[in-house]
């Protein structure tokens, strides 16, 4: 009978509303990327929990992608 929080990895958390009331939680709470997520009883959601500067970093790294597909990693020669 509570909000069950399960850390999936360093970026994401799964929250399950096992109570009997509608609960609103916030992704990126307190940042300009904040987004409310409303969970009805029994519902669950995966929310992102990274901080603002890390999101910006991720946005910048999108330059590394070509038409939405990530470039294959550069193969390094032996000895490099």
């Amino acid at each position: 009978m509570a909000l069950i929080k399960k850390q999936l990895d360093e970026n994401r958390m799964e929250v399950t509303n096992s109570g009997d009331a509608v609960v609103t939680i916030y992704e990126f709470r307190g940042t300009k990327f904040e987004k409310p997520i409303t969970l009805k009883p029994g519902q669950s959601a995966v929310i992102r929990i990274k901080q603002t500067d890390e999101i910006i970093e991720k946005t910048v790294s999108m330059k590394d992608t070509v038409k939405g597909r990530r470039k294959s990693p550069v193969k390094r020669k032996k000895g490099e």
Binding site: M1, A2, L3, N17, S18, G19, D20, A21, V22, V23, T24, I25, Y26, R29, G30, E34, P36, T38, K40
Partner: protein, 194 residues
């Protein structure tokens, strides 16, 4: 596009979200049967002058009290508990069954958001009300839960609980906001209470 408010906000239109500072917004409307908002007066005194005139001296705006009657059934703070919210702070809430709370000297701050809308897709008072739906919303920030009165007089455990908030914070920032939308624009979601 001409949108029209209903003649009145009636049954099935009210939502109530309550959040402790730093916490989630819990929807209380499923357990609450009445809302009474006693807005603080913005009164004044008048001082009679020699020739019968009056000097108006505004008195500071009074505190606002929001009283709910409802049927909380347990101490689950992810649900409609009022006892843990009354006796202690969110940092000390018991979340392991069986739940328990004792009187303490700690007091929490709360935000109370009340929304009236006929849009049934909206399930929490803090949610966005989409364009095309009319809504009226009141936001009371930095409230204290000052009174919890359980009674079992009609073979039902009914609880009357009361929040109180001053109109302003110490720095003059307002604690009370009212909003409405006639449906020609989206009424934005309320930010987290942090």
């Amino acid at each position: 596009m001409i949108m029209a408010f209903p003649d009145l906000w009636g049954e099935g239109t009210a939502l109530v979200a309550i959040a402790a500072k730093g916490g989630s917004d819990i929807e209380f409307s499923a357990a609450v049967t009445s809302i009474d908002i006693d807005m603080g007066d913005r009164d004044f005194d008048s001082i009679a002058t020699l020739r019968g005139g009056r000097l108006v001296k505004p008195t500071p705006e009074g505190d606002t009290t929001i009283t709910f009657e409802g049927y909380p059934v347990n101490l689950d703070t992810s649900s409609t508990d009022v006892w843990q919210r009354f006796f202690t702070t969110s940092a000390n809430w018991d979340t392991t069954e069986p739940l328990s709370v004792s009187a303490s000297h700690s007091r929490d701050n709360f935000r109370v958001v009340i929304l009236w809308t006929e849009d049934t897709s909206v399930t929490s008072a803090v949610q966005q009300v989409p364009q095309g739906s009319e809504a009226l919303r009141a936001i009371f920030t930095n409230c204290r839960l000052i009174s919890v009165k359980p009674s079992f007089t009609d073979n039902e455990l009914k609880v009357t609980f009361k929040f109180k908030c001053p109109p302003f914070q110490k720095d003059g920032t307002p604690n009370i906001t009212w909003q409405s939308s006639d449906g020609t624009a989206t009424l934005d979601a309320v930010s987290s209470y942090s």
